[in-house]
Symmetry: C2
Subunit: 557 residues, 2 copies
């Protein structure tokens, strides 16, 4: 019998990192381990210093947490599965993005150096660091003024979460950090550098977060110069124009790192990748027209098409950005599971909590069970799912939540159902916007925490969108997707695969249970969606900017 | 020393009746007693029968409960205060309206007769019986078609709660009851008949609920004939055209009733009155321009003016309907305290309830305390107070509640505050509509359960409306107002008063504490009210009838 071979996937999330060891021949997940970052998300005070962060929209991380995650999880997986280091043929990783940091020429993060430790701009800016909004505004205004052609690929707007606003914030607020940095780099690429000893840049973050495209490369020097004179050479002085495709071998594991983790030196390491994007092939999706939804606190929608299309309010379109040979589209809802969590935390009365305890179920289960007794439309309620703004289609962080239809007999489970329906309408709006723009959405595949937790939610999403929903077999689709990319980096000769499609055919799968739309329910929901759509445009496209005006009034004394 | 003299007020509410014994010379409230109706509000099954009510919008009562209330409360008040029956010089009553019943020529309610007992249409139709909506629609359509001039006095719409829709429902559904009835009568007048042995009709219910006016009388015969041939003579066959002014002496207490209650035969009894209207002089208000708000589960707004004006969406204008010599206007909000009760019951999490228990306060107190820490506008929330439809200004029962501005950090106390603000905006809209129609609202007087319970609410109402709020001294303003009318019915010669103004000067009062608007808060609220107003018109005046369409979809299978 041939020796079993494995691939290792490491999924760097917001609060923790997870390693997953997967049998390359079957996709069997043989061991997993999690590390909660010791400094988590830094929002108040820099670790080991007295420095308070300047404002509430800051969100930083400690890059050393990413290395500690490797130390804690990789050896543990090997131990748990009784797998020897040399049985692991490839390593893949995925990261939140844009999560970026300034480093020295040898990869040393500036925040680890004593002289910069107390400077917030020396630390990792996490994806949800929103303090670079003035810089994002400047990027957008400048791009519009100069008529930059790439703006349309990003739905007409660059987010404050992305690479250049964050880089520009460092230059604006801490020029000494900017000038001391030899490199500004995505954490997704930095971790690969640590594993292989070589700096590489991956196509996914470059395309979705740093305005790069296979055909046009990065924006021109004049654009960067217009943002700030010292920013003119940001590409050549702080970054790299050498962008590698997904699944490419970034290099082999260094001797030092191999020893530290109990793996073989030279083990293939794939170039960096992004958590949502890497999940697509882990859901078995390797072709156009199949939308993958990563459903958790928020929802990411990933979809491939055969042509570049301009889709209003999408997060971006990147050639080869998800799967080679296809145009990858990304859209998203800022809050989904987060809305249900807000509701159960703040708006459910004591007797519901008591009943859930008595029945040994979660409050979510209880609400879903009660809400399932209602027919579509029976609650008379309608909500707009904007508790954390709208990422797609409107791209407007200043929008807020709305519910209507309440009467004196309205029950918590009805409100809960209305919120689920609202998030489903949000997804449906995204689907329809893709289709109206010429990008087909034929089937839907899901992964993440929500689908297996909430049967009602899945059925409502299916009924609202009128589409069958399939669910990834793996509960850890991101880590599995990373392991698959690791197996591709290893290549067929080393026991892996020559393409992500081959890896998906062997290592990925979906569950037997699918959710099929009930045509009657869909017909009712189509009527309610028309109401959602009217309110969406009224409150979201300037019919009535009351949500923004109320936000402005919050600060009035 | 002269013998102290007293007046007795009896306030017939929805769930109970309350008697109050008041010193005529000082207004001192010397004793009170409550009787909860033994059959309460009948919504499911007729008492002592197997008859189920036909639908959910039925609400009936047992007239015997009104007599039992007298038996239980009047002797108790005398006993508690150690007052002799002959010290009581006058009796006044007030009732919910329109609350009506079919009776025989001697006043016997049809529902007390064996042959009619199982027929729902033989029972008292309570004010909130809403099953006569088809009849109300017919009344409105017919009045419009025939161009009836009185329609404009009622904001252009007759409610299903009022007298003729209810009477017509009896004729439509139970012609045998209609024909067996010698009289159709307001419970407010029926109870006076029981006390005095004489049928009288009071101006207040006739004016506000039965389309009567001092100048034009009732609608013409042709109108009633157009509703139904058998309805043509409803006035002369089932009612009375002899309408008595408020405070008039209906008669003296019968021997039999005097004995039963422990009072003196011949004691003056005032003609019937309505619970909200009778409270106006009990708040010391006896002139134009001073709005009285009876604030509880719902809010009634009563206001007198010197001219008849057409005010959009008011409940009605009746000359002498509240105070003699003035035009009485009525408006209302269908749900106020009810909305806060809904919120605390269904949308407040366990830890808030636990904290309230620990601090020995109500959940309302806790929410109000926490909500008071916010500045106007600080929550970023806005609501429409239509949890039970809109009575004024839109007169539309099919409107529903709305909240917007929620985000993932929104707290229960913020929602609570937004709901209070919404009800204050609803009152402000009513005030502005009066003023835009030429009826001045200079000062505001309050009574009812809410004002003394919720300091924050009163301050917000004052800040939103920009007006000083005074509160009636009495916690039982309706019963006090009835007692005052009893003292007027007795007249000066018998130790009472010759006018309600004299009675108010002696027996009524307001508290020292008033609520004055903070100009800064009012300025912010004016901006938020502009937003409320825009949404009010958008959702309430046909800009977007989503609330109604959602209501229609509730029934779709």
């Amino acid at each position: 019998m041939a020796k079993r071979t494995f691939a290792l996937g490491i999924d760097y999330g917001t609060e923790s990192a997870r390693a997953l060891l997967v049998d390359v021949s079957s996709g069997e997940e043989v061991a997993t381990a999690v590390y909660e970052y010791s400094h988590g998300v830094i929002t108040e005070r820099l670790p080991g210093t007295r420095t308070r962060l300047p404002a509430h929209d800051w969100a930083l991380q400690d890059p050393m947490d990413y290395l500690r995650a490797l130390d804690e999880t990789v050896p543990k997986c090997l131990r748990l599965a009784k797998v020897k280091g040399d049985q692991v043929i490839g390593i893949g990783t995925d990261f939140t993005a844009c999560t970026m940091l300034p480093v020295k020429a040898d990869g040393t993060p500036l925040c680890t150096l004593k002289e910069f430790r107390a400077n917030p701009n020396a630390w990792v800016k996490l994806w949800k660091h929103h303090a670079a909004q003035p810089e994002a505004d400047r990027v957008n205004q400048t791009a519009q003024r100069l008529g930059e052609p790439w703006l349309r690929r990003y739905g007409g707007k660059i987010s404050s979460e992305w690479f250049f606003p964050k880089a520009l914030q460092i230059l604006h607020e801490a020029p000494e950090i900017y000038h001391a940095a030899d490199r500004l780099i995505e954490a997704a690429d930095w971790i690969i550098w640590q594993l292989t000893g070589r700096e590489t840049r991956n196509l996914c973050t470059a395309g979705y977060k740093a305005i790069w495209s296979k055909r046009d490369g990065f924006p021109r020097r004049e654009f960067f110069a217009a943002l700030h004179p010292d920013f003119a050479d940001v590409l050549d002085k702080k970054m790299s124009r050498d962008i590698r495709p997904l699944g490419a071998r970034a290099g082999g594991l260094t001797e030092r790192m191999a020893k530290r983790l109990g793996l073989a030196p030279g083990t293939a390491v794939a170039v960096g990748n992004v958590d949502a994007h890497v999940a697509v092939p882990a859901c078995t999706v390797t072709s156009a027209g199949k939308m993958v939804m990563i459903m958790g606190t928020s929802v990411c929608h990933l979809l491939c098409g055969t042509e570049e299309k301009e889709v209003p309010g999408q997060c971006g379109v990147v050639e080869d950005g998800i799967l080679p040979g296809l145009f990858g589209f990304e859209a998203g809802q800022c809050a989904v599971g987060d809305i249900f969590a807000w509701f159960t935390r703040t708006a459910v009365p004591p007797e519901y909590h008591a009943e859930a305890r008595k029945r040994k179920e979660t409050v979510h289960d209880l609400l879903a069970r009660k809400a399932a007794a209602y027919r579509p439309g029976e609650t008379g309620l309608l909500a707009l799912d904007w508790w954390n703004g709208n990422r797609s289609v409107l791209v407007d962080a200043d929008l807020t939540g709305l519910t209507l239809g309440m009467h004196l007999g309205t029950k918590p489970e009805e409100m809960y159902r209305a919120l689920i329906e609202a998030t489903a309408f949000g997804t449906y709006k995204i689907i329809r916007t893709f289709e109206e723009s010429g990008v087909a959405v034929e089937e839907i595949y899901c992964c993440g925490g929500l689908p297996e937790k909430n049967d009602l939610l899945m059925q409502i999403f299916s009924d609202v969108t009128g589409r069958r929903f399939r669910i990834a077999r793996s509960r850890l689709a991101c880590a599995l997707g990373s392991a698959m990319h690791g197996a591709v980096a290893a290549g067929k000769a080393a026991g892996g695969f020559d393409s992500i499609r081959e890896a998906a055919a062997r290592m990925a799968g979906v569950r037997k249970k699918t959710y099929k739309p009930d045509p009657k329910a869909h017909a009712v929901y189509d009527k309610i969606f028309a109401e959602y759509d009217t309110l969406h445009d009224y409150f979201g496209r300037g019919g009535n900017d009351v949500m923004k005006r109320l936000k402005t009034l919050k600060g009035v004394r």
